[in-house]
């Protein structure tokens, strides 16, 4: 009857959509370090992963508004204004809108380098999404701690990426020189 969602199917669905939204957002941000560090190139999947993350966030929000709060717009607004973890979640959804809207070839071509700058918003969104998840829990256990660690590694990598590449590149170019 409840399709494996347990005796509280609305919360079950809400949480399931939320955690998969977070997982897809993480997956989208794994693509770059994965290529840099291992050479495995999943760039052709990055747009799909990011968009899946966006759709799951959208469904997560829809279930919360329609099934959980029964379209009680006053209750939704009260939640957004008064409860920091919901404020953060809502901000992440809003920040995802321009990214989803520009996830097409035409936007990438016409925005040029500005597209890259705009899509750096995904770092803020990931940090916000993890915060939203952790603050929604009653206590810090291994599961939320794991997501904090993953997000910290992915976002930390963006800080060290440039210096790391500068340090690696000369080494790579030096090798053939030594052989001749």
């Amino acid at each position: 009857m409840t399709g494996g969602l347990g005796f509280n199917p609305v919360k079950g669905l809400e949480h399931l959509l939320g955690i998969w939204a977070l997982r897809f957002l993480i997956a989208a941000l794994v693509v770059t370090p994965l290529r840099d560090l291992t050479g495995i190139n999943w760039f052709r999947y990055r747009r799909a992963l990011g968009l899946l993350g966006f759709y799951y966030v959208l469904f997560h929000f829809t279930v919360y508004v329609v099934l959980d709060l029964r379209l009680d717009i006053h209750a939704v607004w009260a939640d957004i204004v008064r409860r920091p973890y919901i404020t953060i979640g809502m901000a992440c959804l809003i920040l995802l809108l321009p990214l989803a809207a520009t996830s097409n070839g035409w936007s990438i071509r016409s925005l040029g380098p500005r597209w890259n700058t705009l899509h750096k918003l995904s770092y803020i969104i990931l940090a916000g999404a993890v915060l939203h998840f952790v603050l929604a829990r009653k206590s810090l256990t291994l599961e939320p701690a794991t997501y904090i660690a993953i997000a910290a590694v992915l976002l930390g990598y963006r800080i060290v990426r440039k210096p790391l590449q500068k340090w690696r590149r000369p080494k790579r170019h030096n090798q053939p020189v030594r052989q001749t």
Partner: protein, 270 residues
């Protein structure tokens, strides 16, 4: 769980019982894990017998009660509403006896003002009590004011649905205080101590801004992260459109217990 007979007690409730399967598989019992399905799945190794409950502190006749003796108390079936602080509720047919019957046997002294409770610590049988990053500190502790503890609605439960308590519901003996949020109803009790000062409680220690000592069900006082105005009745309604109903002051037991808090600011004493 073994069959357990009890005559119907006072406090009739004209509401549909929550299905037994829901009562025994949708639980918060962090000693067995933090997910709702964890207690039913992870409590198989827990041994609720033999068992004893030490009743001590400011009493004239401190005593350790063996489980056999507790099972011989005047058992009654009491159908109560159960409202979780998370915003869901159930209707559960408990079997138990008034806590007052136990307190009377040990004779609390005049200086006793509060009752402190403690859950067993047994990491080898309770997987939630071991491992990296524990959600709470153990033992789980709770407390009531003495007049709350002696109220006729407050019971020690040893069964539900005509059977002894399943492990996931707090076997072999737990507290049930139906006008307070569920976390006050401490499970698998090994110690009851009469004290003169308000005792520490687990969730208040973990997050005092969100969980107070009193924790009376109150639709007018929101949890900082969600509204307490309504609740979802587990097992009612259908599928993705479950029953959501207004939450009642003192969980519908205002007539019986509101006088305990006369003159108190319930917004400050949440």
């Amino acid at each position: 769980a073994a069959p357990l007979q009890a005559k119907p007690g006072p406090y009739k409730l004209d509401e549909k019982l929550t299905p037994k399967e829901a009562v025994t598989t949708y639980n918060n019992f962090y000693e067995f894990g933090v997910n709702k399905s964890d207690p039913a799945q992870n409590s198989g190794d827990f041994k609720p017998t033999p068992w004893a409950v030490a009743v001590e502190g400011l009493v004239n006749k401190p005593k350790t009660f063996g489980l056999e003796e507790l099972m011989k108390m005047q058992l009654e079936e009491r159908t109560y509403r159960m409202r979780c602080v998370e915003g869901w509720s159930m209707v559960i047919p408990w079997i138990g006896f008034p806590l007052k019957a136990l307190l009377d046997q040990v004779e609390p002294q005049g200086s006793a003002k509060y009752v402190a409770f403690e859950t067993i610590v047994r990491p080898s049988e309770m997987p939630g009590q071991s491992g990296f990053l524990q959600p709470l500190s153990w033992p789980y502790i709770e407390g009531l004011r003495l007049d709350e503890a002696a109220h006729p609605l407050t019971i020690l439960a040893v069964g539900l649905y005509g059977e002894t308590l399943p492990n996931q519901n707090g076997a072999p003996i737990r507290l049930v205080v139906p006008w307070k949020y569920g976390f006050k109803s401490i499970k698998s009790i090994v110690k009851i101590k009469l004290v003169d000062k308000q005792p520490d409680t687990t969730w208040k220690n973990a997050n005092a801004k969100e969980y107070g000592f009193y924790s009376n069900v109150n639709p007018a006082v929101d949890h900082p992260r969600w509204s307490q105005a309504t609740e979802q009745r587990i097992g009612e309604g259908s599928g993705l459109f479950p029953d959501r109903r207004p939450t009642l002051p003192f969980n519908g037991y205002a007539e019986e217990v509101a006088s305990l808090y006369a003159g108190m600011d319930l917004k400050a004493n949440y």
